[in-house]
């Protein structure tokens, strides 16, 4: 964060905050034709900080590219974010604060809880669309969440991609799900069981671990008894996956271990140490270092940031890009920037090239982008390598 542009923006935010502190001052509403505002409840701290910091940078970088290139029809997108520490009430507070100071058209939310909490408020305001860090299955319902979307597959779709891959690799395989006892962890489990059945896979064990647990010895014993061919972890960032995998390997288990998006960052997988080799998982975007095929956007990112950028960064970047595209399409159609119009603009995206960030052209008919690819960790290269083609659901 050495960018002077950035500092000025943050100074601006500070000044706005100062203004907000003086009671009685109604927020200064931006006039039409002024900046378009992307607000954000970002988990810069707390348990989700590892992703939040990347998301924050990704959004900033994409908007910098956009604004440096003249913005959208001459209008820039201004990013106003607040830290939430991954707490719902703090996220709501940030939302209220930002929307009381700015005329917000786009919003980034940090958790499933927040996305659900704020949804009625989004509908009531009708002035913005929202996306965020949650890929919860529940949110992938345009009827219940008409003004939200996610820049990737929902968790059930991620499982679907994994299971489809498994079914292809080893028909009739035995699969185990290991997930945390949280909303995040439980989200895709029930529907994915049904998907597994359709694909003629047998789910031999479902293991719930309490959130934040350290000792998983008993769970590993349980897993060994079930003896699955594939084990899918969900609802974790890192712990307790490494210990789980390490103990299982020591016991001589041959199961293939897999994860979903938020465990798939290169540095996260690397931190699994010896257990990392061969770890697989589903990922909707290309990795930072992916040089296969043409991806001009990744080139640009690599120019801006010579060092590795996390999956969270890519997620933030892509989300901002899709939001900007929705704005562009709405303005092109000569419509006002309302929530409904923006969502319509977003849903009009068809076979859209994200500059190679998604490996294939994408369409957003509903609330999600059900595309992904299986990657496998290569311990020698210390990188995730593609293990499958792009899978579209």
């Amino acid at each position: 964060m050495t960018n002077t542009n950035l500092d000025r923006r943050q100074l601006l935010a500070g000044t706005a905050a100062l203004a907000g502190m003086t009671l009685g001052v109604r927020p200064l509403a931006a006039q039409d034709g002024g900046d378009i505002v992307l607000g954000g409840s970002i988990p810069l701290t707390g348990v989700f900080a590892f992703a939040g910091v990347g998301i924050h940078a990704g959004i900033q970088d994409y908007l910098k590219i956009l604004n440096d290139g003249g913005g959208i029809k001459g209008r820039k997108i201004k990013y106003v974010a607040e830290d939430t520490a991954y707490k719902v009430d703090a996220s709501v507070a940030a939302f209220n604060k930002i929307t009381s100071q700015e005329k917000v058209s786009l919003y980034y939310g940090d958790s499933t809880g927040f996305s659900k909490t704020i949804n009625p408020e989004l509908d009531r305001r009708g002035s913005m669309i929202m996306a965020g860090a949650s890929f919860a299955t529940e949110l992938n319902d345009p009827k219940k969440f008409p003004l939200q979307f996610m820049a990737g597959p929902d968790y059930t779709e991620m499982f679907g991609i994994l299971l489809r891959y498994i079914a292809k690799e080893k028909p009739g395989a035995r699969v185990a799900f290991v997930y945390s006892d949280s909303e995040f962890g439980r989200d895709p489990i029930a529907p994915s069981e049904a998907v597994a059945k359709e694909l003629k896979l047998s789910v031999v064990e479902k293991i719930v671990t309490p959130p934040g647990s350290v000792d998983v010895s008993t769970e590993v014993l349980k897993l060994r008894r079930a003896n699955p061919d594939f084990t899918i972890f969900h609802g974790y960032v890192l712990a307790p996956i490494p210990e789980f995998v390490a103990q299982a390997k020591q016991m001589g288990m041959k199961s293939q271990f897999m994860g979903t998006f938020w465990t798939m960052d290169n540095s996260t997988v690397q931190r699994m140490g010896d257990s990392a080799d061969g770890f697989m998982g589903v990922m909707p975007y290309r990795y930072y270092y992916d040089k296969d095929g043409s991806s001009p956007m990744l080139e640009k990112i690599r120019q801006m940031r010579p060092e590795y950028q996390s999956t969270g960064y890519l997620q933030g970047f892509v989300t901002a890009m899709l939001m900007a595209e929705a704005v562009k399409r709405t303005l092109d159609a000569g419509k006002e920037l309302t929530g409904v119009n923006l969502k319509a603009g977003l849903n009009s995206i068809k076979d859209f090239d994200t500059g190679g960030l998604f490996g294939v052209p994408i369409s957003i008919p509903g609330n999600s982008v059900p595309v992904g690819r299986i990657y496998r960790f290569d311990a020698k290269a210390k990188q995730m390598q593609p293990a499958s083609d792009w899978i579209k659901l």
Binding site: V208, D215, L221
Partner: protein
């Protein structure tokens, strides 16, 4: 197969229980000497893990040097905390002191997060990873090592209390601070030593636990399970911590294996409630006589 599974689960439970017992002993030590319920024990344990990481990964020292250093750092922290926070609270209500330790826990968690970030981290591998088999039953090597280490330390403590002069001083202080003072026991020093020993033990336990499951600023919640252990065993009983630790470890493992992971915490706390109704001062705790 099922008896084998049961045996394996039991072993795993006892292994985890030994670490509970070890931390529980640290807790009891402080309570016995100073009558302070130290809820920050989980965070001190966490700090031990981070100190180890700092010495081993940060400074690049050998793990076998980093381990004693981390334990010493824990002891130093104990000394500092006792001097700076606990001694000024002497004579205040136990609730106030209890809340001070809660505040301390929060400060420590924040400091660690400021220094190392919020992400979970892994400690450098320094334990052998060849699996241990007892009969046919598998036991994770780290858990086995944790068990042995905990057993040795607790054994040492028990011997220390029984046979050393310091142990007598501790017992006297525990029984009656005023009387101990008047017969020439340096009570403030007993306080200091108890805190140093306890925090050093907790830091060591932190390294063991960190080696098993990794470390994170939120691993202080381990202290909550330890609290259950010492309440069940009795706040002022080392033997109680031992029995309570193994019991809770076992119950958690069995609940996890046969009911599911989400039942672990709730089963132990339900057990705690039932026990409190029957034995309000734990299995081995001293019942205090009330006076008008």
């Amino acid at each position: 197969m099922d008896t084998l599974f049961l045996a394996e689960v039991t072993l795993a439970g006892l292994g985890a229980g030994a670490l509970y017992a070890l931390t529980g002993v640290a807790f009891v030590l402080i309570y016995k000497a100073t009558r302070v319920v130290n809820l920050a024990i989980g965070e001190i344990l966490m700090l031990g893990g981070y100190a180890f990481l700092g010495f081993a990964a940060g400074l690049g020292l050998s793990p076998w040097l980093a381990l004693p250093l981390a334990i010493a750092a824990g002891g130093a922290l104990g000394w500092l905390v006792e001097r700076a926070l606990i001694r000024p609270m002497l004579g205040e209500s136990p609730i106030s002191v209890f809340m001070v330790t809660i505040g301390l826990g929060s400060i420590l968690a924040g400091v660690v997060q400021l220094g190392w970030g919020a992400d979970p981290l892994r400690l450098p591998e320094f334990m052998p990873s060849t699996p241990v088999f007892i009969g046919e039953a598998y036991l994770a090597p780290k858990v086995a090592i944790g068990f042995v280490a905990a057993a040795v330390v607790i054994g040492l403590f028990l011997a220390l209390f029984r046979f050393s002069r310091g142990g007598v001083a501790l017992k006297a202080t525990a029984a009656d601070q005023g009387a101990a003072y008047s017969v020439g026991i340096d009570v403030p020093r007993v306080f200091s030593v108890a805190w140093i020993l306890a925090c050093a033990t907790a830091a060591g336990a932190g390294v063991l636990i960190g080696a098993i499951g990794g470390i994170s600023p939120t691993m202080g919640v381990f202290g909550l399970s330890v609290l259950v252990v010492v309440i069940i065993g009795g706040l002022d009983s080392i033997a109680g911590a031992l029995v309570g630790g193994l019991l809770i470890g076992l119950v958690e493992a069995l609940a996890g294996a046969f009911l599911g992971g989400e039942f672990k915490l709730v089963v132990t706390f339900a057990l705690l409630l039932v026990l409190l109704m029957v034995r309000p001062y734990g299995l081995f705790g001293t019942h205090e006589i009330e006076r008008l």
